[in-house]
Amino acid sequence: MRNSRRLALGASLLASLAIAGVAGGGALVSAQDQPTVRIGSDGFYESQLMAEMYAQALEANGFEVERQLGIGARPARVEAFESGQIDLTPEYVGSGLGFYVVGSEDEELAAIEVSGDGETNRVNLQAALDVAGVGATVLAITAGEDTNAAVVRADTAEELGVSSISDLAGVADQVTFGLPPECEVNALCRGALEDGYGIAWPPAQLELLPPCGAEMAGALEGNAIDVAWLCSTQPVIAQNGWVVLEDDLDTQPAENLAPIVRNDFLEGVDGGADAIAAILDPISAAVTTDVLTELGVRIAVDQESIDDVAGEFLASLES
């Protein structure tokens, strides 16, 4: 166990060196020149996985890394980021943007749109952070994405004849919803369901469960809930033959992942934002939707450790 871990770490070290060498050229610097980077993430596995990849890649390039993975849901993590308790965090560009702009009282922020295109959302998220006065830089987005998805069991879809969230709105009082606790204050969750699809809030039958987690999936599988708010890359969806309801009103934005980094931290980095980008961009480029799903299976289903999975993925980039 210990050996395999060390091996994985060593491999990832090599891999990251190689990536940095190829992509950045000047990114290799001696350890003592680089500041400690504090990396934070959301509570569920995918956010932790991306954060762990960033952490191992940065460690391989001479950064000291302090991990604060699994902080919680976005509102808590964003506050930790804005207050400077963490320097770097993976963010879903769509929801991250929505957090700042949807329903904002600031006219300038409210004017920024959340779109169905990941790169547009990245650019807009950068703009929103600037307007909101958060000194931070959004780096390149992942090739793949993971969106929020309303998921039902196949038998529910058949019995109630639902294939889209609009269909679901018609039978909303006959089903039990499973939603994350922060949905209530999330414009892309409650806002989409209530204002977009006209589903009365709160739903008559509602269970609050952690987002994108095994608990929510287990509850759907065990018939305790009928509609689960899951992440589209969650492996259980395909495994159980569940039906992802079509978001026919396009309420859910494109959700590619991008590292966001505090500018005050970047100022202390030898080489600045370019040095960090040279290390992390190749990772983002390699993370496709298939990769997110596949690595998700290894963590959520096969119970492999996030450390190992992240390390081996980084090592695989080398070849």
Binding site: A76, E184, G218, G222
Partner: protein
């Protein structure tokens, strides 16, 4: 502080399913049910061990293992089992989500302190007393109910006190698994970054725990047999006088 005030003065905090009265009832219901169920298991076993002195190792081991099992892990492990048993045993699967895993984890949490209090309380009764009772012709059952139990009562209530306090405090994490109770305010408050709700929940749980403790410590004193109380007071006085 302001947000906390806002939480407590908002009429919405006091009405409906998500209101404080309903959450309090949910919390107390699971706590009392868990402690009652744990008592039904732990008391007979504890009395048996205490009275006969047999199976002591078993009692100690159950108590120690029980204390070492983390409640949250227990809940997560029980979740798929309870959901899976729903169609087999025919109960509502929602019970398997929001009640049974939390309830059972709380029962397991409550057993060790009650078990230990039951056998330690009985065991600590002066052997001379039980021997002379036996000499007076009392049956074993009469010795247990007439002599040992009354004398062990304060210790026993102490066990309930610990069990109930632990359960009240720990039942809050049930909110991770869609559970009700006051923990909802803490979990939802963190997720929504609603500090008023978060600290409101913390204050409510703390007040409930302290209130329960005060009530039970009063009960503990009331239930101490008069003779024992006087003897204890005399001893304390003597100890006090002896101190320089």
């Amino acid at each position: 502080m302001e947000q906390l005030l806002e939480f407590f003065t908002d009429p919405a905090s006091w009405s409906g399913d998500t209101g404080i009265p309903n959450r309090l009832i949910e919390h107390l219901a699971i706590a009392f049910l868990a402690v009652l169920t744990a008592s039904a298991i732990a008391l007979p076993l504890g009395f048996y061990i205490g009275h006969t002195g047999r199976l002591q190792m078993l009692g100690i081991n159950i108590a120690n293992i029980g204390r070492a099992v983390p409640s949250y892990a227990m809940m997560v492990m029980l979740l798929p089992v309870m959901l899976g048993l729903a169609p087999v045993l025919g109960y509502d699967p929602r019970l398997g989500l929001r009640f049974l895993p939390i309830f059972l984890a709380m029962v397991l949490l409550a057993i060790p302190p009650i078990l230990v209090a039951a056998y330690a309380g009985i065991q600590e009764v002066d052997r001379d007393l039980t021997e002379s009772s036996r000499g007076m012709g009392l049956t074993e059952r009469q010795i247990l109910t007439g002599v040992e139990l009354p004398l062990a009562l304060p210790v026993l209530v102490g066990g309930f006190r610990v069990a109930l306090l632990q359960v009240i405090a720990t039942a809050t994490i049930g909110a991770y698994l869609a559970g009700g109770g006051l923990g909802r305010y803490i979990i939802d408050g963190i997720a929504r970054r609603d500090d008023g709700m978060l600290y409101g929940g913390v204050v409510l749980v703390a007040v409930l725990a302290i209130g329960t403790d005060v009530l039970l410590s009063w009960l503990q004193r009331r239930l101490t047999p008069r003779g024992v109380r006087i003897a204890t007071e005399l001893e304390t006085e003597r100890a006090g006088a002896a101190a320089p």
